[in-house]
Amino acid sequence: MVKKHKILFVIFIILIWEAMAFTGKLPSSVNILMTLISDLPALGLAVFNSIAVIGKAIVISLMITAILIYLGRYEKINDCIEMVITVCHPIPGVALLPLIFMWIGPGPEAILVIVTHAVLWPLLVNIKTSFRQVHSEYKFLVKVFHVTKVKQITKVYIPGMMPGILSGLKIGWSRGWRGFISAEMIFSVIGESTGIGWYIFMYRIFGNMSGVFAGIIAVIIVSLIIEKVVFEQIEKRTIDKWIEKA
């Protein structure tokens, strides 16, 4: 249920927005809404293309995470992985652009690499932390009770790690959007399927601020929907259910 004070807060923000728009520093919210509606097909396509790339990046990141956690059972390898995370995590993907251009050139793959870089590290850190926690709590218990490998994974590790996996996915998802939009605003291959970053950039080039904000609002709406529908549902069907059972 949406609470009353939240709605009031949104109305309050819109009022301030309109006051600012009156001075000419911001486009009026009516214009933004009109652009949003009249541009719906193009915007929808851009959002779809963006989600496709971010989704791919999340799947790739999950696979890499699984491999790295598996390898990380050995203390020495784990130390190396930790080092890579410390080095790579703070670097924004766009700073790596020159390198990426040199290796794979400016194509859709370059954007995928940047988005994967944005998604991978927060995802890895979160999942790894939760893995280590579960591991240290249960490694002797599963030994004592002779739990089979399969059951260890499905009944102990995955349920135990679920909060970490979910928060990793959430952060990865939002970092993915950021990486994708900034990459697309720096370079883009037109004629290929372009996403929301290009949409915003295009309106910026032609000085149409309503269009820019229409793009930003589309990102906000999509993020809200994914947060409310996808992540909350997963949480309900997994963590909440498991807690109830226990």
Partner: protein, 301 residues
């Protein structure tokens, strides 16, 4: 709640009010075509002519940032290409041209020798749609194929240094529409010139122009000072090559001789005259890059 409203009101007032001090904010840009601006800045011509004013130079990343700063009244004068300026005017910005700055050899460069007809579906890198490079390419496309947008689906938008890198390294991009010094550096690296900007345009045109806000235009003293400072800088480059090189050296990471060749023997001309504005406007209007048609005297202050 009441307190909150008061705070917000104060913030709104602060946003709404403008500083009334005498202050000039000018955007500084990087590139050989902007050399007079760098001379003007280093020699302090403007500061000399306007002792009562506080003059601030800001660095902005690209023409879009310049336009946005101008909309926000955070900029009084700037230097940029004609098409981005026209697009800005078309989206409701009230500013005008006060001087030309330079003509420069911009070119479409390619890894293989080719003509427009043989480009096919090769990828073309350029700064962004609506940039002077894009408009010139579209002009050539219109003349050759009768369709200005024929190349629009094979563009890769990126900054000049990135474009040069991918072109020379041969990664996915086959052509690069760029300006000095990248044009020269690409030619030195063995790239071929496919078509020059002047051929695209069909004559001479001003590459970089100076624009001011209406406020500055109405402040006659400052307006005249900035116009003559630009001319003074051009004359300085013309008449004192050695000193000009001394001034410009710190801005460019290239050796003195190369810089001298670039500035004096490569076709860059620093001149205040503004050429070709109506051709740009007509073309951009005809191909719907802008919504309205403008006359030359509407745009020049």
């Amino acid at each position: 709640m009441k307190k909150l409203f008061v705070v917000l009101l104060v913030i709104l007032c602060l946003v709404g009010c403008k500083e009334e001090e005498k202050k000039l904010i000018i955007a500084e840009q990087y590139g050989l075509a902007y050399a007079p601006v760098q001379v003007m800045m280093s020699k302090g011509y403007l500061e000399e002519a306007l002792p009562d004013y506080e003059i601030e130079w800001v660095k902005l990343g690209n023409t879009m940032a310049i336009r946005e700063a101008m909309t926000a009244d955070a900029l009084d004068a700037a230097f940029l290409g004609i098409p981005p300026y026209i697009i800005g005017t078309d989206s409701g910005m009230n500013w005008g041209l006060f001087t030309g700055l330079s003509r420069a050899p911009v070119s479409l460069m390619g890894r293989e020798d080719a003509t427009l007809e043989t480009i096919g579906d090769g990828r073309i890198a350029l700064p962004q749609p609506g940039s002077i490079q894009h408009i010139l390419l579209s002009m050539a496309a219109e003349r050759t194929f009768g369709d200005a947008k024929i190349f629009d689906n094979q563009l890769v938008t990126m900054k000049h240094p990135d474009g040069m890198q991918v072109l020379i390294n041969g990664n996915e991009v086959d052509y690069h529409f760029t300006s000095p010094p990248y044009v020269f550096q690409e030619a030195e690296a063995g790239m071929h010139e496919i078509i020059s900007g002047e051929t695209c345009f069909g004559g001479e045109y001003t590459f970089i122009v100076g624009v001011t806000s209406e406020e500055l235009k109405n402040d006659t003293e400052a307006y005249n000072a900035i116009s003559s400072a630009v001319r003074q800088s051009m004359e300085f480059i013309q008449n004192n090559p050695e000193e000009a090189l001394d001034v410009l050296m710190p801005y460019y990471n290239i050796d003195r001789e190369t810089l001298s060749t670039y500035i004096y023997d490569s076709g860059i001309v620093y001149e205040a005259e503004i050429k070709g504005i109506e051709t740009f406007v007509d073309f951009m209007y005809r191909n719907e890059y802008i919504k309205e048609n403008y006359k030359e005297d509407e745009l020049i202050w």
